[in-house]
Amino acid sequence: AKRPRTITTTAESSMRDAFAKYADCLNELNDKRERVVKASRDITINSKKVIFQVHRMSKHNKEEVLEKAEKDLAAVTDQYVARLVKELGGTDFWKLRRAYSPGVQEYVEAATLFKFCKTGTLLNLGEINGILLPLSDPSLDPLQINVLDYLLGLADLTGELMRMAIGRISDGELEYAEKICRFVREIHRELTLLAPDMDDSNEMKTKMDTMLQSVVKIENACFSVHVRGSECIPLLGSDVPSYSLLGLSDLE
């Protein structure tokens, strides 16, 4: 055969050149996506550890537990979030958002949970992004967590706070539980206004349902303590201090 196909026309060869370029672009993007996914998974798993650490808090060991949590959280930031920042370096953050969003949400969850337990306040998006700023190469756009991932992380936070509240009541810290209740209600109320405006509101809608359940669980727990504490017991009179209930310090 004369193999005429080896003599390619200009159009054909320029097409091949162009597609070689496209192939490079796609390969590069896919490889980067893969690295970002991995970084995100690392952030997730380590943020979860921070959350569990915070849950180890009880009436008597608050400082030490939170101190360790703070260190762990800093390690997540410096080690894993920093790697995500490096992997993303310079890309359009929105392009690969689905690849890193789960990790970032979990990080927000961990950071805000820690902050609330430490100070009783909400860690703002601006504050988180302030922490991330030094991680970025100054010559590139710094990675900034977007509002959506922040809010999605916040939605998950309420679930952790619910667990925290139930635990606090068990520990006799009723007022702490009530503080959580107020805080979670506030977040729920604010998110009720925001949720339908979010870019992909379905994911948030599911989380809102779970959140309402969390609020109700906390409220029911507070109700339960309250009615018990208010019970009038004619037999005994009122010499029993009715509100210091449920402290376990006198268990033994």
Partner: protein, 229 residues
Amino acid sequence: STLEKQFEDFRHHLEESESLRERIRAVAREIESVTRLIYSCLLLVHQSRPIPEVLEKVKAQISKLKELFHRLAGILRECPGQYYRYHGDWRSETQTVVSLLGFMHWLETGNLLMHTQVEERLGLKTSEFGLDIEDYLIGICFMSNELPRYVVNQVTAGDYDCPRKVLKFLTDLHAAFRMLNLRNDLLRKKFDGMKYDLRRVEEVYYDVKIRGLTANGDSTRDLGIQGQS
């Protein structure tokens, strides 16, 4: 050709219908936005904010709602006989409106807001644009879902008479609904949910009662549910 002529007519028809629908949806979106504001205000009653204060904040929004339903009625007047053609485009928003108005009215008076009262408040009474009965009923079911949470939070805030009143209201409402012969549709499903609200309120009332926390001290005497203040 006649074929082209016919499709030309269809094009006009479909475009008009589409633009009408677009306008309806725009109003529905605004209604949704207002209801969201109202709902987020009403959530404050769970935090034991004084009811008059809460209702005061909300009332400004009601006239907005009225205005929006007026616009809706105006749009539908352009296509007489086609209320139900576009019904799906505003019905879920309307159900939410009913649930919110109903909840507010109940907070204020302890009574059920009637179908005609909703129409009045939304200014629907005079026009031929009315409130669909099923929408009203579904809205009322949604309202009922809010009550158990309200009762729990009221008791926590020290209002021990609340469960009795809510239980009375919900028992009557539930009995009234039972008179209806419902098909296996959304309304039926929502009504079935009301049973759980009722059960929860009964439990709260039980918790309060058994601990002697009802208002007038001698709680063992006034059992049962009597005339409400």
